[in-house]
Subunit: 434 residues, 2 copies
């Protein structure tokens, strides 16, 4: 007896928009941690975020319909944090700490709305800018990326029959489960989902998170997605991002101040957070430069998240630095999160096993790996390297050098100045796939 629910069917008939973002919690946890600090330390800084498609060959403006994109962005702007979401943020513990978010911050969040955006097409790409207070524009990063990535997935699957869609998802499920089975072979490996921004779609990310929870049990330590963490009773995972050193560097009044900016922002961080949240991102202006001048107190932090150097040399470099600082790497944590997939997770895990504590933030290759899954063999489901980066703070240009010049952002003249200040040692081009 196949029963069709007529009410649902009728609702679907009249359906104008299938919203991609349905909650402001559908974002990465680190955005909330950073936001709480930004509000206290930089309440008046303005910051412009911009979409950057590093996969130039994919002409997004020819794939994603502009009206649909505007409708989704406009819909996201109508959302506020729901009462139950704020109650959960207030009452849940994060990283073992109660009351991570203060009452004043939560009261402010209650009225939060995403600010305006500017959108235009330039040479087959979308120019999408968010201008305004840093406290507001920062919150666009994840919804902007999830909206565009999911619209791209929908475009790739438009006009596919019910059957072809069935095959696409069956294959993607089987493919992910093969990876889960390989992950199970590494007995003390722990990892978390970092795949929100470049996910195939929200429902697919949810399925992936459920798969890891089912397949890895406690070794799946959580998700960066706050909404999924709440819904699935998982830990919300994340610390801080490049935008912190990028904005503080942009605000620096001199080259000397610029050189100190990456450490100054981490001093602010440790005034706000502690324990396992004391994870430093070393690569904004090159890991070699960062470690060369790093204060000793950073060696007392829980660990580092190398994010653009190849994982094995990048990890070795940090381990050497710990040893130079006289601390035992075995007590320290490395979080690998740059374009990891099952092969690189295995290699990195085996390489460092027993020498340092490790965790993996598994992103795009977890939540958007449909390579080989399309029965029509099309490449339209391939993930692209799309980011949403701060490009200006208080009207001054922002720069990211990264360990991988292919991931650098900023105006050429400013990049040159930063390279003079921080040096080029240790940077090497690696193809950016996701």
């Amino acid at each position: 007896m196949a029963v069709t629910d007529i009410a649902t069917r009728t609702y679907n008939h009249n359906f104008r928009l299938d919203p991609i973002v349905r909650s402001l919690l559908d974002t990465d946890f680190y955005k909330l941690l950073m936001l709480q600090m930004i509000r206290q330390v930089y309440p008046d800084v303005t910051a412009t975020f911009a979409l950057i498609n590093r996969t130039k060959t994919v002409r997004l403006a020819e794939i994603v319909d502009e009206d649909e994109l505007r409708a989704q962005l406009d819909h996201a702007r109508t959302l506020g944090f729901a009462k139950k979401e704020l109650i959960w943020l207030a009452g849940n513990s994060f990283y073992g700490r109660q009351k991570m978010f203060g009452p004043e911050f939560l009261a402010w969040l209650a009225d939060f709305r995403l600010p305006a955006y500017e959108l235009r097409k330039v040479d087959g790409q979308y120019e999408l800018h968010f201008d305004g207070p840093w406290t507001h524009t920062t919150m666009w990063e994840i919804p902007a990326l999830t909206i565009i990535n999911e619209l791209k997935s929908r475009a790739a699957l438009r006009n596919r029959g019910r059957f072809a869609l069935d095959i696409v998802y069956a294959r993607a499920k089987a493919k992910l489960w093969e990876k889960v089975e390989r992950l199970r072979e590494m007995p003390d490996l722990v990892l978390s989902d970092f795949g929100t921004r470049r996910r195939h779609g929200f429902l697919w990310q949810r399925w992936c998170v459920e798969a890891l929870k089912e397949g890895l049990g406690d070794r799946f330590i959580g998700t960066s997605n706050v909404l999924l963490a709440m819904d699935a009773d998982l830990e919300a995972i994340g610390t801080n991002a490049h935008e912190l050193p990028m904005v503080t560097a942009a605000l620096a009044e001199s080259d000397a101040e610029l050189a100190q900016a990456p450490y100054r922002v981490l001093e602010h961080w440790r005034q706000h957070y502690n324990g396992n949240l004391l994870i430093a991102l070393p690569d904004a202006f090159g890991t070699t430069a960062f470690l060369r001048n790093a204060p000793h107190w950073l060696a007392e932090w829980t660990g580092f998240r190398p994010d653009s150097a190849p994982p094995i040399p990048g990890g070795e470099q940090i381990i050497r630095w710990w040893e130079e600082q006289g601390v035992d790497p075995k007590t320290k944590l490395l979080i690998f999160s740059d374009g990891m997939d099952i092969d690189t997770i295995e290699q990195t895990y085996r390489h460092f096993h027993g020498r340092v504590r490790m965790s993996f933030g598994w992103g795009t290759n977890l939540t958007n790996d449909f390579r080989g899954c399309d029965p029509d063999g099309a490449a339209a489901l391939e993930p692209i390297s799309l980011v949403c980066k701060v490009i200006e703070a208080n009207g001054r240009p922002a720069v990211k050098l990264s360990d991988n010049p292919a991931k650098a952002t900023g105006e050429p003249a400013e990049i040159a100045r930063y390279l003079r200040v921080f040096g080029e040692t240790g940077r090497a081009v690696t193809p950016v796939l996701v």
Copy 2:
């Protein structure tokens, strides 16, 4: 907005039996063709059918609950042909012929019910017998097999979480689609679904049939399942089975009559059917013996369905016979249907391509291939070699020799007598997997 249909949910809560057989059309087409002939030629013959599990290592009575089995068998006995089903049988064309089933036969079908069964447990297996008029007991073969096979699948998946089930079916879908993609590489290959009897379950067979329809288009020429043929607007495929020569052989009054029995029943067949229904099954008592004494008019038939010899030597033997009879094998059809899977289909297709017309009846490895699909790695989903064979006619023992002694059925003394009459040449043991 996830809407739960409360009425459906409540219905499911109160659900006592999920019937496996819900229509008497959920059977193989050849049963109806044979039944029409049996009613005219052998209306008074009684025949006993019995379940035979050739996979002795699988102790079915310890896996399938007896109460559940009885409930399913009893439910099948409540079914009659529905009015729309009889209208379809009357109005549809089969093998290009209108009015394949006569009005008197259809009127008789309208009152048809499955007869009684006898069930008991013997040494870890079910002894399941159907006694009575051949016109009735013959109709138990397929429902008895589908019920036991689906109860076995259900038992294998009992207590699995929603997630594990999701993986099982995702993998099975991905696995079947890999096969479909390989089949597409063979440009003029045609095949049909013969997988009713040993299917994983009805809904899964339906999915497999839809997959072939979608993936192969017109090269998927139909299904042996009459209900699925009606529902999916496909051709119903099938001709005749071993029970015809087995019963006529059992009725033979002398060894001379026994030797002629396989041909006599085919004479009856050609009085009832023509065209592409003129397909002979040569192996009931050994293909070598069958061809040695076969009348020339069999060379004028459309083709043969070798069903227990290995496909390549079995096909070659028939091609040689056609050549000896002076007919061109290129105009003839071989239907391969014995435990075929993608590798053997490819090998057989490549071997005979251009030399003979070919078609494949794809059975168990189409509708019940879950090998490697269970995330728990259990073997409980492996298909077994379960058959339901005629064992007696008018109180005399029935025998099948087959080209493969591992597939022989009957009492040892009778098998010995048949071997004396038909000879042993050309028979060779091959492991029976499905």
